[in-house]
Amino acid sequence: MFHWLEKHPFFFAVAVFVTIAFAGLVEILPNFAEASRPTIGTKPYSTLELAGRHVYIKNSCNACHSQLIRPFKSETDRYGTYSLSGEYAYDRPFLWGSKRTGPDLMRIGNVRTTDWHENHMWDPSGVIPGSIMPAYRWMFANEADVDTAYAEQVTVNKVFNVPYNKPIPMKDGSTEIVMMGASLDAAKAEALADAKVIAADMKNQDVKDMVASGKIPEIVALIAYLNSLK
């Protein structure tokens, strides 16, 4: 039987495939539904936050920053409560990262402000002496892609039933609603309104001018996203 297998490439290939596919079937399939259930208080991203998340991904921030707090005292002391599976329910893709050249950002919104991010992204080592993070000054000039962020909202809402425009239970018993514009223009207007709130806390004149003229720079979207990480 074994020798027959060795001489019949097709059945040999089938045998190899069964052997390698087995692990995946056992490990991955079973927990799928359970692992994707959101925890109470986890909200989907708003249009502007999602556009910021795309900026984060575009620049591979996850190459140096994790978003996963492990259950050790040293980590919870430094970064806050350890991560729960359901907190990632609306993360497509996940951004856990695999290397901490810089600190974890899972709950960065609890510790840093708009103002801090603005200074830090412009000149990291000016804010943190000794920092090896490069500056991201082009984000102050490039425009964020709100269209694609809106497209993603529509997609996850349609295909994966992500609850936009629906009440979402919060930890204190109240509910909150994350809005998704009925049309692209509505979504853009909403994102701009959010952007204005953030730009008000910023001092870079180019950014302020852009927002005043109805454009959203990447840095504003990114800060909206970073502030949402709590």
């Binding site: 039987m1 097709f10 052997t19 079973p30």
Partner: protein, 71 residues
């Protein structure tokens, strides 16, 4: 019996099966050499005598050819 249990049994069964197959394979490799039915070590020569003019260790015969077509 919920899905988790079925899964656990299936996992155990399949793993046990594969372990048996693996040991069966080891037994097959050594016993067939001892009995002289097949010498696995000769296949190592496929790499050494690999010119087009070299004689294959085992030639594909015409009979096998037709069988393979069915596959």
């Amino acid at each position: 019996m919920d899905i988790g249990q079925i899964q656990a049994y299936a996992y155990f069964g399949f793993t046990a099966f594969l372990v048996m197959v693996l040991y069966g394979y080891i037994y097959h490799l050594y016993s067939s050499e001892k009995k002289g039915t097949r010498d696995y070590e000769k296949y190592a020569n496929i790499a050494l005598n690999d010119e087009l003019t070299d004689k294959p260790v085992e030639t594909v015969s015409k009979k096998d050819e037709t069988k393979k077509e069915e596959v």
